[in-house]
């Protein structure tokens, strides 16, 4: 449980600075520090237990089916990172109190900072891969917010976008890797996966996993060729740079390398990829750092270089190299955070970060200068400081490896060269800024910073010294525990002494220092050499690429969708044609083995009639009435087809829907232009469209034929077998609708209700063209409601209602049911509307159709909920048989209540649509404010 609090407290702390912002900056800072300090306290309580090798695990199952659990673990590595995140985080909070000016929104800054801190703690504590990835992405997002904190600056926005794009893309790659690891290992729990290294390394997916994994780690840790985003993220306020871009976030990538070291390392591919990337990054970063005039730019590239160094160590393939990598993670975080803070102080007190202007600051701020120089010496690897120890371990390990086979001697050579550049840029930081003449037109007169702004730097520099002088006492246990967690095996023997005697590594150190001195003394020549190259800013290159991409996508989008629905429809159909036709080429033969039915002349005649009617609809679509009559012929034959091929329910439904549809079309004819302007009489268009349509039709026909002539393996046997015993009805189609798949039906009648409501809204406040004559000039008939129709329909009404009641009641056992009965009732009522008019109907049947739809849905839902009262699942039906004198035996089923809801909804929806459309021409039509 305690481990959980380490993560939860800073997360809860996000609210504190925002809530208490009005109590002033100092109170705000103290309150912000409260939660991380508590978390740090809890963490330190675990120290003895972690150092003795125990792992605290905390887990809550969340979505066990997906392997997604809330799991946390605290082992040596997680402990080390938590210590860095919380410890340096607290110093940063203190530092930011003095760094941010009055005009900055400090509460927001602190909230972002704690958000980032929680995300970072989540990454290092997560014991579940998916959860780890979630926090990983949160670090990207929170760092985006922090980099763009001064969002009024263009470079801050550009830098933040670049960082988010690069690390976000890497995050996607990482997700791919983690999902594949989970797939291969069969679990997403990290503790289990750590023991399954062999399974993963021998998996056929290993190359893909490794590539995606390294992409994720390298983008986050700014490794070559993704190093370009980190220097531009320096547009952030300096506390952010000190925290995210030196101590924590960029370390997330190397953390990942460390975390998965026992799982993915120990293969040739890992060693070569990781060591070469690390080496390239280290050299490139160190070289560029020397030429940066911006103080933070120098530190940024030196960070890139040191991250490369750590990566290189993880790629060297000896166990001691991994120990050295962990050690350097600690050391780099300590000295680089203090250097960034020192750079921030210099910037804050002198107004610039340009090293061409900053000279001779020793006179103005001797105390800060001393602190900065100690930290910079540690960066250079000067003895008695922590940087020296890990650099010495690096040199030792470069001599003990054989990563590149016969060419392995390149590595110590190049590492020494990198070391020389590190010495050179550290010298430049010290000498250029604090000595080297007088300052050149600084915006402010530099002076020492406020007392407490220096405290964080002091603390970190003291740590540098203490670790450098008493390494074993200071970090021995921590390093042992963290390294053991990285290796997941027996710890190699290592010695943290300052003096190992005169040996090769010491010689390499000496060479590096000498080389660095030489480089720095001859810097003018070097700068002249570097000037010959064109200066390219990654920020603009990246922005240019992004803009190009956006322009291309916009062009593509404009080409695909130029605003014409007709054209979009054509393209969609073309795509559907290609997609559905392609698989047919693989089919050997359209005809299958399923026995076919013999054809008879009735079917042939009907099919011929339907084809003819279809073409009439197509050909005379501009003669609207002819087209409609032909369309209704097609619909009738479709319902006959359903009846013939053993689907009586479908036939009944199709028949009644057909009537309603044609009635609706007839009503609509009145409101649509009687004579359309001929827009697309272009013969080319017609031929093109018809060809595509014919191709599509033939493809669909072929698929249909291929399907019909192949044997059927259906799941319906279950429905047939259980229809009577489980659903209490013999009409399987109806039982499926109201029982087996009742939930689907509930959704479908809801859709029906929604469509009717949409139509209701569309018809309100409509401005109509209401011609009082047809296009030939004939006036409409004066006799609006023919007497004969009125009399006949009135006497038919009770009969129709009786039929619909009969169809409804028998629906469970014989063809029929709520849908069909509802449609029949609706047709009977519409007929009354046609025969008598809206006013007459309104007087006799003042029914609110909206209410009818609502009550139908309500009844259907309620009948489903009813089964909960008996401890059953939603929409479970109940039925029993009863006997009444005169009536005989009959069955009652709860499905009937559900079917009644369907019945009401269908009536309501159908009448709402037709009656409101019919009312448009009358005084009863929907008016503004009716809804």
């Amino acid at each position: 449980m305690n481990v959980f609090w380490i993560l939860l407290l800073p997360l809860a702390g996000i609210l504190l600075p925002v809530l208490f912002a009005r109590f002033g900056r100092t109170v705000s800072a103290w309150l912000t520090a409260l939660m991380p300090a508590l978390a740090l306290g809890i963490l330190l309580q675990h120290a003895t237990e972690v150092f003795s090798g125990e792992v605290s695990v905390f887990s809550i199952p969340w979505v066990p089916l997906l392997g997604l659990n809330l799991s946390l673990h605290l082992d040596g590595l997680a402990f080390l990172f938590c210590l860095l995140i919380l410890g340096i985080g607290l110093l940063i909070i203190l530092y930011a109190r003095y760094y941010l000016s009055e005009s900055d929104n400090m509460a927001l800054f602190y909230a972002y900072l704690l958000f980032f801190m929680s995300a970072m703690l989540g990454v290092v504590l997560s014991a579940n891969l998916l959860q780890l990835w979630l926090f990983w992405e949160l670090t990207s997002i929170s760092s985006f917010l922090l980099i763009s904190f001064w969002w009024h600056k263009s470079e801050a926005r550009k830098g933040a976008r670049m960082a988010l794009t690069v690390t976000g893309a890497g995050g996607l790659a990482l997700l791919g890797a983690l999902l594949m690891i989970g797939h291969v290992a069969g679990t997403y729990e990290l503790r289990e996966i750590l023991a399954m290294g062999d399974v993963l390394r021998n998996s056929e997916h290993y190359p893909v996993i490794l590539t995606l994994f390294l992409l994720g780690a390298f983008t986050k840790s700014a490794q070559f060729p993704f190093q370009f985003w980190l220097p531009h993220a320096m547009a952030a306020p300096t506390p952010v740079s000190a925290y995210l871009h030196s101590a924590t976030m960029v370390k997330a990538g190397v953390f990942l390398l460390a975390r998965f070291y026992p799982v993915l390392a120990d293969t040739e591919a890992w060693f070569v990829a990781v060591s070469l990337t690390g080496m390239a990054t280290m050299l490139l970063g160190a070289y560029i750092a020397l030429f940066k005039h911006d103080l933070k730019g120098l530190l940024a590239y030196s960070t890139v270089s040191h991250l490369g160094l750590i990566t290189l160590l993880f790629g060297l393939g000896t166990r001691l190299a991994a120990v050295a990598a962990v050690f350097h993670i600690i050391n780099h975080a300590v000295f680089k955070a203090s250097l960034f803070m020192a750079a921030g102080i210099i910037d804050h007190e002198s107004g610039t970060r340009d090293m061409r202007k900053l000279n001779g600051l020793w006179k103005y701020m001797p105390y800060t200068a001393t602190l900065a120089m100690v930290a910079a010496s540690s960066m250079a690897g000067v003895p008695l400081l922590n940087g020296f120890l890990s650099k010495e371990m690096l040199f030792t390990e470069t001599l003990n490896q054989s990563t590149l086979g016969a060419l392995s001697w390149w590595i110590p050579l190049l590492t020494t060269a990198g070391g020389a550049f590190a010495v050179a840029y550290s010298l430049r930081f010290m000498h250029d800024v604090f000595f080297n003449g007088e300052p050149i037109d600084l915006p402010k007169t530099p002076h020492e910073p406020p007392r407490y702004m220096r405290v964080p730097v002091e603390v970190l520099v003291v740590v540098c010294l203490l670790v450098g002088i008493f390494p074993h006492f200071m970090v021995g246990d921590l390093l042992a525990a963290a390294s053991a967690a990285v290796l997941q095996a027996d710890l190699p023997v290592f010695s943290l002494a300052i003096w190992h005697g005169f040996n090769f590594p010491l010689l390499m150190s000496a060479l590096a220092v000498l080389g660095g001195l030489t480089l720095y003394i001859n810097r003018r020549h070097l700068f002249g050499f570097q000037m010959q190259f064109a200066d390219r800013d990654a920020k603009y290159m990246f922005e240019e690429q992004v803009q190009k991409l956006i322009a291309r996508v916009t062009t593509l989008h404009k080409w695909l969708d130029n605003g014409s629905l007709q054209r979009s429809m054509f393209l969609l159909i073309l795509l559907a044609l290609v997609v559905s036709a392609a698989p047919l080429f693989d089919l050997l033969d359209a005809i299958g083995t399923h026995p076919q039915l013999p054809i008879n002349w009735v079917v042939g005649f009907c099919a011929g009639l339907m084809v003819a009617a279809t073409f009439v609809t197509l050909w005379w679509s501009h003669l609207r009435l002819v087209a409609l009559i032909a369309l209704s012929v097609v619909g009738l034959i479709v319902s006959i087809a359903f009846a013939y091929f053993s689907a009586p329910d479908l036939a009944l439904t199709q028949l009644s829907v057909e009537v309603v549809t044609i009635l609706l079309f007839l009503l609509a004819l009145f409101f649509l232009p009687q004579k359309s302007p001929v827009i697309d009489s272009n013969l080319t268009t017609i031929v093109r469209d018809f060809s595509v349509a014919a191709l599509f039709g033939s493809v669909i026909g072929t698929i249909c034929y291929a399907m019909l002539t192949r044997p059927l393996d259906s799941i319906s046997d279950y429905f047939v077998a259980n229809s009577k015993s489980g659903g209490g009805g013999t009409n399987v189609v109806n039982v499926i609708l109201v029982d087996f798949r009742g939930f689907d039906t509930l959704g479908e009648i809801t859709v029906l209700g929604i469509a009717a409501l949409g139509i209701y809204k569309l018809l309100a406040q409509i401005l109509l063209y209401m011609p009082s004559a047809d296009n030939k000039g004939y006036r409409w008939s004066k006799e609006r409601h023919p007497f004969l129709l009125a009399v006949v329909s009135q006497s038919l009404l009770p009969l129709a209602l009786l039929v619909s009641a009969y169809i409804f009641l028998r629906g469970h056992n014989m063809p029929g049911g709520g849908f069909i009965a509802g449609l029949i009732t609706a047709i009977a009522l519409i007929q009354q509307y046609v025969a008598h008019g809206v006013v007459w109907m309104k007087e006799r049947m003042p029914i609110n159709y909206l209410g009818l739809i609502a009550s139908g849905l309500f009844i259907a839902t309620l009948s489903g909920l009813g089964s909960w009262a008996f401890g059953r699942n939603f929409l479970t039906t109940w039925f029993d048989h009863y006997h009444l004198p005169l009536v005989g035996e009959f069955e009652l089923a709860s499905a009937m209540v559900f079917d009644f809801g369907v019945y009401l909804t269908v009536i309501g929806a159908t009448l709402l649509i037709l009656a409101n459309l019919g009312k448009l021409t009358t005084s009863e039509r929907l008016k503004a404010g009716d809804d």
């Binding site: 007709q566 279809t614 097609v634 479709v638 309603v660 033939s698 019909l708 047939v720």
Partner: protein
């Protein structure tokens, strides 16, 4: 039999697609209706063709597959709702845009003399309604003015 059925589905699809590619709303809706016939028949065909085998327990030996039938039944009803919606949408588009082009282009409205007269009448009615609505608005303003005049 299967061939005839498949051919009919193909023909319905062809006509449906062709009409859906037209520029006026009415043919498009006709096409949509034809296409939904085709789709329903196609879905129905996934249960294969059976004669004299209605899926009613105890009525026959070889049952037709009831599952596609149940699916198609709701599809027919929803298809009706969709057709109705598109039809009303076309009416609304015509009344708002003055023409029946599917792209909703602002073409010059095609009106008969009768329609012109009618539209004029509707405009007049609306103008009258607006005038009658303004009155209370004026009243409110007067009230506000009164309020302003009061010393605060």
């Amino acid at each position: 039999m299967e061939f005839t059925f498949a051919m009919s589905v193909g023909v319905l699809t062809t006509a449906g697609i062709y009409l859906m590619l037209r520029a006026q709303t009415f043919p498009v809706i006709l096409g949509l209706t034809l296409l939904s016939y085709a789709v329903n028949l196609f879905l129905f065909a996934s249960g294969r063709l059976t004669v004299n085998g209605a899926a009613i327990v105890g009525h026959s030996q070889a049952y037709a597959d009831p599952l596609p039938q149940a699916l198609v039944l709701t599809a027919i009803v929803i298809g009706f709702a969709m057709t109705a919606f598109v039809l009303i949408l076309a009416i609304r588009a015509r009344s708002d845009l003055g023409n029946d082009h599917v792209d909703g282009r602002e073409l010059p409205p095609e009106r008969s003399a009768m329609e012109d007269a009618l539209a004029n009448r509707i405009e007049k009615n609306q103008a009258r309604q607006n005038r009658s609505r303004k009155k209370p608005a004026n009243h409110q303003q007067a009230q506000q003015n009164n309020v302003k005049r009061k010393p605060t």
